[in-house]
Amino acid sequence: MVQQQRVRWGMVVDLDRCTGCQACVVACQTENNLPINTEDLFLQRRAFEWIRVERYWEGSEYPDLKARFLPMLCQHCTNAPCEPVCPVYATHHDTQGLNVQVYNRCVGTRYCQINCPYNARMFNFWEARWPESYYNYLNPDVTVRGRGIMEKCTFCIQRIRRAERKARAEGRELRDQEFQPACAQACPTGALVFGNLADPTTRAAQLARDRRRYRVMESLGTDPGVIYLKKVDPHAEEHA
């Protein structure tokens, strides 16, 4: 018997509100015990960014030159290409629409990253190290990954579980916007809205029905859980 999915966690990213400030990136890094990205790591193309702000330039010369920002994170696809290729089932889909990464199981073949069209997955090439004092700042709710393990955005599953436990203890349902992943919480313009897409009354589900909506690389049929809202072009008549 097929049940209507009661919970499908998803996110709406409003590109009209995103300023490219990267507060989401920093917040995610702190919340999820990501290693600190030094300049060396960026130059080696091994920087850890579970959410990254992609920057594209439009136009050629000032003042026509514009920066366009695309926050890109794990899309938690229903038809995730990363899931069938993992030889040890370290990545799989749970009943709440999340694409789950099991660190303990991961062997590090890196096939999931190769198959991810959004390049959303990161690999621990080295053992993670922080400055001595920083160890006190690590989030106790999140595993620290050793080397050789793949990792990616989890929609701050620790916060989801904590909120669920709290709601269960208080004998009530989860309320919309009761908790947020770190990126959505840190976003100063409210460009990132997290919520249960299966419940039409949540703010995320309402925004997901906006007529500006689209999904990245939709033609691949991955059915992502992250919906983007197109940036509004104030000079649309000129550009038409």
């Binding site: 992609e54 089932y89 080397r147």
Partner: protein, 456 residues
């Protein structure tokens, strides 16, 4: 015209067992040299496992590079054994006789070396057993059979088992010859392995039947192994990889590079062990003609991949082909690849004088393998560098020293394996040589006597 020397049984036994039973001084020199080459690889791998995959040049998103190129290369080389042994045995081609065992040995060691690569390239080498072994280890989770990375070890281990059984079962008569001509601990060693071979008609009948059956059974494995390795790429959504033609393209490429490797090996063996009576120019001629057919077939599949990769004119795939052909360093590599994998060898192989010259065949076959190694590299890395439309994530890749060490060490490992095998067991099948003497016949056609062969 063929020159077919008439050799007595005693001479065959003596010459082919010479290196097995007596150790010349240069053996130790070559052993040390090969050991050093392999040692370089060993050190590189130990460093990798101890420190982390970060010592390689791989980054995000180029997460597979040298090690997977090398893996596919060695699996490709391993296809030589079956091609030559099984197919030529089933078609009763006479010229297979000196080549079969060396080809099969090359298969086994190339395959074993290849199988090591996926094991060492993972982030957590000590957990690889969960990946490969088909058991749930009390955790209730079996390996994911939907993943091409599970099909890989299944295919490779099947092929390895089959090839090893094949080598062993056709080795038995020669082990008996070695047993009968040695003393002391050698005699005991060969005696146990020879399983009491007496050489009576019943045993020979069973032996021939076993050879034919194993040849037939290993043919499907031969086709499936490299197809399954190709599925690692074809199943991925990466543009430039997600092509339906990869299975036959890889298999025919494997045969191309593998048979060339056998030609290289035969030239080396002939030089090293002075086997001029057994490995003759007509063998290289026949190998060369086979190579010609395979090379052209390979080129057809390459053209299919190339033309139909661009056929859909999808932005991402066009970009990858542009990178492969026009961008540094791939532009230079692509030119070298085309030259060495097709444009130089094929016209050379069309010339009879080249095919009958051992030196030219050695050089041509080495060229082919250089080209095929580059082919795998060009296939894998540009597609990952420019994966999909999110250009912000595009990257480049530079190989690092431990990766070079791995590649060089793999050549050392295979060479060491084949060399040690040739020391312990006769590398040219003794009974096949004696059989060819028996099957040789002559046919008088008018005034000419033409060499012929008795057909079974």
């Amino acid at each position: 015209m063929q020159e077919r020397p008439v050799l007595s049984d005693r001479q065959i036994n003596r010459e082919l067992l010479d290196f097995v039973l007596h150790t010349p001084i240069w053996f130790w020199g070559v052993l040390m040299l090969l050991g050093l080459v392999f040692g370089a690889g060993f050190v590189a791998v130990v460093y990798l496992i101890a420190t982390g995959v970060g010592v390689w040049g791989e980054n995000w998103p180029v997460m597979w590079a040298f090690e997977i190129t090398n893996f596919v290369f060695w699996v490709g080389i391993s296809h030589a054994g079956v091609m030559i042994s099984a197919i030529l045995r089933l078609t009763q081609a006479e010229w297979r006789r000196p080549v079969t065992r060396a080809a099969e040995v090359l298969t086994v060691f190339a395959l074993a070396t290849a199988a090591l690569h996926p094991a060492v390239h993972v982030g957590r080498f000590w957990r690889v057993i969960y990946w490969v072994f088909p058991y749930d280890f009390f955790r209730g989770i079996w390996p994911n059979v939907r993943s091409p990375l599970i099909w890989d070890p299944s295919a490779i281990f099947t092929y390895l088992t089959g090839s090893s059984l094949f080598i062993y079962s056709v080795l038995i008569p020669d082990l008996a010859v070695a047993r009968d001509r040695s003393t002391g601990w050698r005699r005991t060693f060969y005696g146990i392995l020879a399983l009491g071979w007496r050489g009576n008609p019943r045993q020979w009948r069973l032996q021939t039947l076993a050879g034919i059956l194993l040849s037939g059974l290993i043919l499907p494995v031969f086709v499936s192994v490299h197809s399954i390795v190709s599925f690692d790429f074809a199943m991925a959504l990466v543009p430039g990889w997600h092509s339906t033609v990869f299975a036959p393209y890889f298999v025919i490429g494997a045969v191309w590079s593998g048979v060339a490797a056998v030609a290289t090996l035969m030239a080396i063996l002939r030089f090293m062990f002075k086997l001029h009576n057994y490995i003759r120019p007509d063998h290289f001629d026949a190998l060369g003609r086979l190579l010609l057919v395979v090379g052209n077939a390979w080129f057809y599949f390459f053209l299919l991949d190339f033309i139909f990769g661009l056929y859909a004119r999808e932005e991402t795939e066009v970009k990858i082909w542009q990178a492969r052909i026009f961008e540094w360093p791939f532009n230079a590599l692509f030119v070298i690849f085309l030259l060495t994998a097709y444009i130089l060898p094929v016209p050379l192989l069309m010339m009879r004088s080249v095919r009958r010259s051992v030196t030219m065949m050695f050089l041509t076959s080495v060229l082919i393998n250089i080209g095929m190694w580059l082919e795998r590299y060009i296939l894998i890395v540009p597609a990952l560098q420019y994966k999909q439309v999110l250009q912000f994530s595009w990257s480049t890749y530079q190989p690092q020293l431990p990766e070079w060490g791995l590649v060089i060490g793999s050549f050392g490992l295979v060479a060491l394996g084949v060399f040690l095998f040739a020391k312990i067991f006769p590398i040219i099948p003794i009974y096949e040589q004696k059989e060819s003497q028996v099957f040789a016949a002559e046919v008088k056609v008018g005034k000419v006597t033409v060499p012929g062969v008795i057909r079974e």
